[in-house]
Structures are given as structure tokens and as C-alpha cells.
């Protein structure tokens, strides 16, 4: 009731008292009115006419609100007000505003009286100190504007500026310590993943500093090829390998050059490599997207001793240039890796097979134009020991791969058919099994059409000379226990790297068998995304397979405890 703006009838006496700053509430008890006294005092200071008008205005408003009341006192009010109102009906705007202010003040003051103890005190502009709301912070003595958000400080007996409020409120130790702990945990997780657990060597630290200041360095001096290569790796990762920093790595006598990120090197720079280092035998250029035909032709003309070539991402180079390169340099090439270009046509591959007869290692990754025709031609490379066809864009099917394996499979020690997703069991049963007796490294990542039984049969019936050293069955999702048993029976004693990533049908029993087999040479094991993997099996591995150095357990949510014997990567850290 006391909060409503409706005022009951009031007598002339009350009016008189109010003009002197004494309020009387509904119960007849006098109340304090500090702010009122100031305002009424200011009123007193103003003209007498104003006072009269205010008083009458007060009466007027009261009359306005009380007109609803049917009271005897009303009549008497009416009389007095009528007398007054004839004089004072007209009001100026200023007086209207003043009146509004007074009413607001009265309302506010009543509210404050009721809620003086509660938190909302002093949260309006009303009760702020000085006019203009500027104040000096008692703590830091700066001048600032008091807002509804500034805190009042008992300690300093005054309103605090924003920075002081912030310091007062936030408990300093907690967020900083929490941040540091989170940062440390992140660092530790990153270190485990990068496998840098020990203190880095001084050479590593120096190389990091060199990489940071690479743009200010004029010459690297005599630091050895290995360190130069390491610096090159690091600045490639930082994307600092540019036309200006490239010359640091080019010397006239160099025989090996590996540039791990040539995306910022212009065509001219790439051309200059051949001019600065004509005696290169090994050239690896990764992500050389700016390379054009003339550069490759220049390489063909000038690199007279080239044997090992890796050109990744030269998508602008056309097929004729590739043919020209193979014609000129093919005879001396021993290792060839080409990746990420759609321009290796059948003609170019023909030229490759015709001219690069001494090729031992061939890797064609992400050649998007690759299809059966291309693959069939590769059967012509009689001395090939390592063949890798990865992520071909178009269709590479069983028939072409079988053709190749039938002709050159017996000489292969490395075979990688990763992500040639159209291949089926036929490749295993009619190709790899019968033909590839010398195989040491086999990568069948992503061949989802392989079935359990056929794969198991193939491994069971496969006569291998020495046994596989690395086997990748990543994401061959339908393979399960039988395959694991067959693989171990076949190559368990020679396996160094075993990749069973994604084979969710492999059960606990098979994993137990794997740990119980005690593979003597197993160093790296990937059992990610195998649901049945758990801590118990990890323990088994710890005790039975001492050669194990790294185990990957991404997505295995039953593996919780870290291992002391080997590196366990991919745990859900809690």
C-alpha cells in the first residue's frame, strides 16, 4: 500500500507540514526525509511564487488522485483547492518536471525506507553522490563516473572505480592457478602426442631459435646437412620457407634437398633450385603448387644426376611435360613419388613405364585421374620392389591390380593399396597370396570390401619368405578375430608394426590371444576404435611383449590407466 502512487486525502495541516519537510505516513507517524528536506529547502530558496505554485500543485495532484474517494474531508479539500486552483492552474514545463521529480523522490524514499537493508540500496542514479556523478576513487584516487554498477566499499568508505572494483571482487589466485593448470595439462598432452617427453637437445633448441629468426639470417654456415634439414623442416612447418629464405638451403655441392612446404615458393624460385644445385641426386618437393611446365622441363634438362624424386602437388604441370621429364631422366631414376595431380594421363604413364625401367620404388598417391588403364601399364616395371597406389580418384578395380601382381608381384617387398576402395577379396586370394612371396610391408588401409573369411584364408595359405614386418589393416571394418589369428600364425614372429585401427569386431578373446602370442619384435600396435580393448589387456601387453614401444588407443573408452612400460597414446584423459 505504501508503494502505490495513489495518495489518500490529505488535510491542509499535512500540506503545511510537508512544505516544511515533515512527512506523515498513513499511520500518522512522522518519518524522516533527508532528500525531501534538501529539495524542499531548495524550493524554499526559490521564488515564493514557485513555492505557492508547488504547494498548490501538490494539492492539485492530490485532489486529482483523491477524486475517487467519497469522503467528507474531500469536500473541505475541494473548497480550499478550488480557491487555490483558480490562481495556479497554469504550470510551466519546469514546474511540471520538478513536480515529477518530487514525486519520484517521495516514491523512491518510501521504497528506500522499506528496503534500506536490502541489496538494491544505492543502485539508482538517485542516491549517487555529487552532481554529474563524477567522483574520486578512494583507493586509487582516479576520477571516474559513478554508474549503477560501481561498488560501494565499506573499507574505503566510498565508491570504487571499475579497476578497483575488479581487483576487489576477483579472487586473484584462483583463475590464474586454474589457467596455469589447464595450460600445463594441454602442454603435457601435446608433448605425449609429439613424443617429446624429455628435455630437448641443445641442437633442437638452437634450431628452434634459428627458425624463429630465419628472416634475419644471411647464411647458415657450416652446420652439417642433418641440421640444415632439421631447420628446413621447422621453418616449413612455420610456413617461413619463402623466396628469400630458400637460398639459405641451396649450396652448390649439395646432393640432397628436401623442401617440406614449397607453397610459398614461386615458379622462378623452383627453377633456381636447378641452377644453384645442379648435382642433386635426391630432390623432394612437397606442396610445390606453383611449379609450371617450364620448371619441370628445366629439371629434366639440368638435373643430370637425379635418382630420387618426390614431387608432391605440382598440379599445374601438364602431361606432356611429365612425358618429357621421363624421357630425359627416366633411365637414371630409381625412386619416384608423384602425388596430388590429375594430369598424369595414360600417355604420361606409358612414357614412365617405357623410360624408367630401372625404377625400384614407385608411389602414386592421390592421382585423381588414375584408373584401371594406368594401373595395368605399371606391370611393365620389371625391377619394382615397392609399389604404392594410394587414394586413386577414379576406379581402380581388381582386374588391373591382379594383372600387375601377377607380373611383378614376386619381386615386391612393399605393397600399398591404401584407399583403393573398390578392391575386393579377389586381390588377396588371387593376387597377393599366390604372387607376393617376398612381401615385408603390406598396407591395406581402407579396403572396406574385404571379408573376414577370405582374408583369414589368404593369410593362412600364404607362403611368405620371411614374414611381414608391417601390416596395416586400418578401417577394413569387417575383419575380426579369425583374421587376427591367421595374421599371427603367418607373421607373428616378424611383425614390428601392426595396425588394427577401426576393426571393431575384434573381441577380447582375440586381443588376449594377441598378447598371449608374445610377438617378439612388435614395437608399434594400433588398437584404436576396438571396443573391447581395456586396461586388463594393456597390462597383459606390458608383461608379455617387452619390445612394445607405442600403443595407440584412440576411441577405446575402457582404457583409463596410463602405462609405465610403453607410450600409450589416445587415452581419454579424465
Amino acid at each position: 500500500m505504501s508503494r502505490s502512487r495513489v495518495r489518500g486525502p490529505s488535510s491542509a495541516l499535512r500540506e503545511f507540514l510537508r512544505s516544511h519537510g515533515i512527512t506523515v505516513d498513513g499511520n500518522g507517524r512522522p518519518g524522516l526525509s533527508r532528500s525531501r528536506t534538501t529539495s524542499t529547502a531548495s524550493n524554499v530558496e526559490s521564488t515564493a511564487e514557485d513555492n505557492d505554485e508547488e504547494r498548490s500543485e501538490g494539492v492539485d495532484s492530490e485532489n486529482g488522485t483523491s477524486s475517487l474517494q467519497q469522503d467528507n474531508s474531500l469536500a473541505e479539500n475541494d473548497e480550499s483547492s478550488n480557491a487555490l486552483s483558480t490562481r495556479t492552474r497554469k504550470l510551466t514545463k519546469r514546474q511540471l518536471k520538478n513536480k515529477k521529480r518530487q514525486e519520484a523522490m517521495a516514491f523512491e524514499e518510501q521504497e528506500n525506507d522499506d528496503e534500506a537493508v536490502q541489496g538494491r540500496t544505492g543502485h539508482s542514479y538517485r542516491n549517487r553522490p555529487t552532481p554529474g556523478n563524477l567522483d574520486f576513487c578512494p583507493k586509487c584516487n582516479c576520477r571516474f563516473t559513478v554508474t549503477p554498477y560501481s561498488k560501494y566499499s565499506e573499507e574505503y568508505k566510498g565508491w570504487l572505480c571499475f579497476p578497483c572494483t575488479r581487483d576487489l571482487n576477483t579472487p586473484d589466485s584462483k583463475p590464474i592457478a586454474r589457467k596455469r593448470r589447464a595450460l600445463n595439462r594441454k602442454k603435457k598432452a601435446a608433448a605425449v602426442m609429439d613424443e617429446e617427453l624429455n628435455v630437448p637437445r641443445l641442437q633442437e633448441l638452437c634450431i628452434r631459435v634459428v627458425a624463429k629468426y630465419i628472416n634475419d639470417i644471411e647464411a647458415l654456415g657450416d652446420i652439417g646437412q642433418v641440421n640444415m634439414d632439421k631447420i628446413c623442416q621447422i621453418i616449413s612447418k612455420n610456413r617461413s620457407l619463402t623466396d628469400t629464405t630458400l637460398p639459405l638451403f641451396l649450396t652448390a655441392q649439395q646432393v640432397e634437398l628436401k623442401l617440406y612446404d614449397c607453397s610459398k615458393l614461386s615458379n622462378t624460385s623452383l627453377l633456381n633450385i636447378a641452377q644453384y644445385c645442379p648435382h642433386l641426386t635426391r630432390l623432394h618437393l612437397v606442396y610445390c603448387g606453383q611449379m609450371r611446365e617450364d620448371t619441370l622441363r628445366f629439371y629434366a634438362d639440368h638435373f643430370t644426376e637425379l635418382q630420387d624424386v618426390y614431387i608432391g602437388g605440382a598440379f599445374l604441370v601438364d602431361a606432356q611435360s611429365w612425358s618429357y621429364f621421363f624421357e630425359k631422366r627416366g633411365a637414371q631414376l630409381k625412386r619416384l613419388y608423384i602425388s596430388d595431380t590429375a594430369r598424369l594421363t595414360v600417355n604420361a604413364v606409358n612414357s614412365l613405364v617405357d623410360h624408367c625401367q630401372n625404377l625400384q620404388v614407385l608411389s602414386l598417391e592421390r592421382i585423381f585421374s588414375m584408373n584401371n588403364e594406368h594401373v595395368r601399364l605399371l606391370a611393365g616395371l620389371k625391377h619394382l620392389t615397392s609399389l604404392s597406389i594410394t587414394n586413386p580418384g577414379s576406379s581402380v578395380e581388381d582386374s588391373s591390380v591382379l594383372d600387375v601382381l601377377n607380373q611383378i608381384g614376386s619381386g615386391l617387398t612393399t605393397l600399398c593399396l591404401a584407399n583403393c576402395s573398390l578392391l575386393t577379396d579377389k586381390v588377396l586370394l588371387e593376387g597377393i597370396g599366390p604372387c607376393c612371396g617376398r612381401l615385408k610391408h603390406l598396407d591395406l588401409t581402407g579396403l572396406e570390401l574385404l571379408t573376414e573369411d577370405s582374408t583369414a584364408n589368404m593369410f593362412a595359405g600364404w607362403t611368405i619368405q620371411t614374414g611381414l614386418e608391417t601390416l596395416h589393416l586400418c578401417r577394413c571394418i569387417y575383419l575380426g578375430d579369425k583374421t587376427v589369428h591367421a595374421v599371427l600364425a603367418n607373421s607373428g614372429n616378424t611383425l614390428r608394426v601392426l595396425d588394427l585401427n577401426g576393426l571393431s569386431y575384434v573381441t577380447r578373446a582375440a586381443l588376449k590371444y594377441l598378447s598371449g602370442f608374445k610377438c617378439p619384435k612388435l614395437e608399434t600396435l594400433d588398437v584404436s576404435w576396438i571396443r573391447d580393448m581395456n586396461d586388463e589387456i594393456i597390462c597383459d601387453f606390458e608383461s608379455t611383449t617387452p619390445s612394445l614401444k607405442k600403443v595407440l588407443v584412440w576411441g577405446d573408452n575402457h582404457v583409463l590407466v596410463n602405462s609405465q612400460k610403453f607410450l600409450l597414446i589416445g587415452r581419454e584423459v579424465q
Partner: protein
């Protein structure tokens, strides 16, 4: 001099005396001191006529840093002023450290 300490001598005559196990953080020094037939092993002294004193001193600092924080996780950074980084790289490559 007891066999616990070794002396490393730079090209400009500065001598640095370290504990043997700390000096053996460097592969080269370790090999020099291991084989009893080498003069270095007999005298517990290693001379480096191609390495300047400031570089050798920094290498000694690093060896202490490495020894102190081996196998720890919360390791502070080792500061290397950029002016000497290239020569330090050469020296550390030689000393296998």
C-alpha cells in the same frame, strides 16, 4: 683432481670444471672420457681448440639444465640469445649435445 670432476678447456684458454656425470650429457665428451687409452680420460681434461669460451660456457649451462630437468614435466625454457645461435648450433653438433 678427483675423478668426479672434469675440466673443459676452450680455444682462448678458459677452463670450465664440471662434475663428470654432467659433462657426459655430451656424447662426444662421454666418448672422450670413457676409453682409458685416451689422454683425456687419463688427465680428466678435454681440450676444444675450435670452440670459443662463450659458446663452451653456454654448453655447460645447457648440460646443467639438462641434468637438472631430466624426466620432469614442468620444465622452464632454456634461453639462447640469437647472436650466438648459429655458432652454438655448430658447437652442439660437434659435441653431440
Amino acid at each position: 683432481m678427483s675423478t668426479e670432476f672434469v675440466k673443459l678447456v676452450s680455444c682462448d684458454g678458459f677452463e670450465y670444471i664440471l662434475k663428470k656425470e654432467i659433462a657426459c650429457v655430451s656424447g662426444t665428451i662421454k666418448t672422450m672420457l670413457e676409453d682409458a687409452k685416451f689422454a683425456e680420460a687419463q688427465n680428466n681434461e678435454c681440450h676444444f681448440p675450435e670452440i670459443r669460451s662463450d659458446l663452451l660456457e653456454k654448453v655447460c649451462d645447457y648440460m646443467h639444465y639438462n641434468f637438472t630437468y631430466k624426466n620432469q614435466t614442468d620444465v622452464p625454457d632454456f634461453d639462447i640469445p640469437p647472436e650466438m645461435v648459429l655458432e652454438l648450433l655448430v658447437a652442439s653438433a660437434y659435441l653431440d649435445v
